[in-house]
Symmetry: C2
């Protein structure tokens, strides 16, 4: 399962695995939860990486060849590769080499863990 | 309205105001949307700031005195103030001085815009 690969890579999905899912507005997050969330948010703290993630995550079939991604940016191949590596190391995407090219997929659990962290609190009175 | 203050400050709420709300998994975000999202994600790319935001956003009544926040960290007052300034400039919190202390509130619209950006696509087939 792809999820196992994510956890093994120390990815964003861990925010919601193993320990309690962090919800910022529900109760103060622990130091461990904050460290893990910050690590993933930091990976998204760059416009190129946000665009790359969106291109990958919104692509028909959920998979994109790196050869398609490069064309969308006025950047060199190595620069694109660097940004993709940061997204991979943050556990937001996976890359699989098939022949000449690497094919990227977003990891829905990782995005869901971040969205969960930012959602309104379910307890009354909070998040007002 | 607090929302006007946010927009005036160039805050995260702008991601979802003015232009189309960005949803990473629905369609590729524009360069402008990516720049604005990255700016706010970058502010969250630090464990202390994630904890500060969570302490503020989860607090009873939705407001916290800076005097309460400082005690939660083994950091100097100026360091806490710096991190709070980054959160303010990103449009994630507001600070209001009343007498000796500054009182902080999270900006729900800013958190909602980020959660929206990370949610699954509503169109069939995407986000799989």
């Amino acid at each position: 399962m792809s999820n196992q690969r994510v956890v093994a890579a120390g990815g964003a999905a861990e925010v919601g695995a193993g320990c309690e899912p962090a919800v910022l507005r529900e109760q103060p997050v622990t130091e461990a939860q904050a460290a893990e969330l910050a690590r993933v948010f930091k990976a998204l703290g760059d416009p190129v990486r946000v665009r790359l993630l969106s291109l990958i995550a919104s692509h028909d079939g959920g998979e994109v060849c790196v050869c398609e991604l490069s064309g969308a940016f006025d950047l060199t191949g190595p620069t694109i590769s660097h940004h993709l590596k940061v997204l991979r190391e943050a556990g937001l995407v996976t890359g699989e080499r098939r022949g000449t090219w690497v094919y990227y997929r977003a990891i829905p659990e990782a995005l869901a863990a971040l969205a969960e962290a930012l959602r309104p609190a379910t307890v009354a009175g909070a998040g007002a």
